[in-house]
Assembly symmetry: D2
Homo-oligomer: 143 residues x 4
């Protein structure tokens, strides 16, 4: 299945006094990448909420921190959709530090992120809109 690549620059706000990116910030970077992956499929989360009453929420994250990212680093987030259900999505997301050439890219962090679709009002699991689901299926088949 194809990978979606999203660049993230590390700013002071992302770091802590240990001199590295604060550990929870990687989850923020990964969420930005998922948002931009949706946008690349012409799906906007606020439209999905307003038109279909469905929102996506994170159900679980399993993340391994291998090497730290540093201030000013140019990172890339690689995201791939690993599983697609009617009410859930499972992503594999890897954050890398960009090297001078692609062979020098370093893997910093890896995660499995499970996302669920909820009914906005009752906040209960609910099937994602068919149009959205089909867009995901179509995207997965392309690769």
């Amino acid at each position: 299945m194809s990978e979606f690549i999203w660049p993230v620059r590390v700013y002071y706000e992302d770091t802590d006094s240990g001199g590295v990116v604060y550990h929870s910030m990687y989850l923020n970077f990964m969420e930005r990448a998922r948002t931009e992956w949706l946008r690349s499929l012409h799906l906007e989360q606020d439209d999905i909420i307003n038109e279909h009453g469905i929102m996506f929420v994170v159900r679980s994250v399993a993340i391994d921190y291998l090497k730290p990212a540093l201030f000013n680093d140019a990172l890339i987030v690689q995201s791939s959709l690993k599983k697609l259900g009617k009410v859930s999505l499972v992503f594999e997301q890897v954050i890398m530090r960009q090297g001078c050439d692609q062979n020098k890219d370093e893997i910093l962090t890896k995660a499995i992120v499970k996302v669920a679709s909820l009914n906005v009002n009752q906040k209960k699991p609910a099937a994602m809109p068919e149009a959205v689901y089909n867009r995901f299926v179509h995207h997965s088949k392309k690769d």
Copy 2:
């Protein structure tokens, strides 16, 4: 007018790789203190929204950074209501590092924060609920 004191502990999440508290975090600390000041007056912002359709938003901040706060610092936020109008509040807020005794407290940051009351639906300035306003007046007179 009386001062409201709220303690804040500095954690890794608040610091940056410069080794000090990230400059925008002081605004977060000040907002925690305003929330707790309201709570000390038996006012909860979600209740005010739900019962009266009024929310408080920050209109302006003028903040001076004098000395940096560090990881693990025990801070206190001193807040005083300087001006009270029907649709706005002006606070003076000072963040200090607690010394071994009160004479050793150090002033780190000072701000003037202007807060406005808005109608939740139209997001337009709207007079705060009379019960809330009266609580503020009563609080101001006490001192």
Copy 3:
């Protein structure tokens, strides 16, 4: 093994426009609780760095989001040390919303957090100081 309890209040800064606490913030709450657990054992992370050249970093997190926390919620973080090695610690941490009585407490989030001790200079795994390790052993035996 004994549990360490740390209270966390939810402020606006912790929430997102979905109306709930942003998913990565729970990792911040858990880190505050681990810092305060160390403090309860008379261990300060900056002292350990300065005196022993050892720092603690998060190696992995596996977190399940069961129910969302909301603005103004009074949360508690329950932390227990599940495994203790010379270069690592494994914590189980549970975040609950406090109910009117203890029977009404609701579990919102659960995580397993693995922390490693590193040499500050080389950023390589290194045994934690014996005095620190013994404090952990002593704490574990108490229960």
Copy 4:
């Protein structure tokens, strides 16, 4: 004097349960823009620290919140250097929501940000490196 333009996308992490961008986040957006302005002048803050022992810190911010930014908004930060001294810089920074065309851009937030150069070790005001200062002068004259 010329303006430096930097785009910022609003993600969930930036918003709060009031449905808008949390007020302190605009300071983060402005700092990203100042970092990228430096980068556009081929100046990296970590290099300046390592080579010259000089770091830039925020001394004061006066910010007015005019209209709120919302989830998914495409913002631009306009930054201009208003004053240049040997130990300080004053910026005017404006955050706008991008409209369909330039006439539809809306001003959301305006700030005056004063930045000082410090000696990294003593954390005292210190003249910025001449090469850096000259780059700022050169940049200012261009316009």
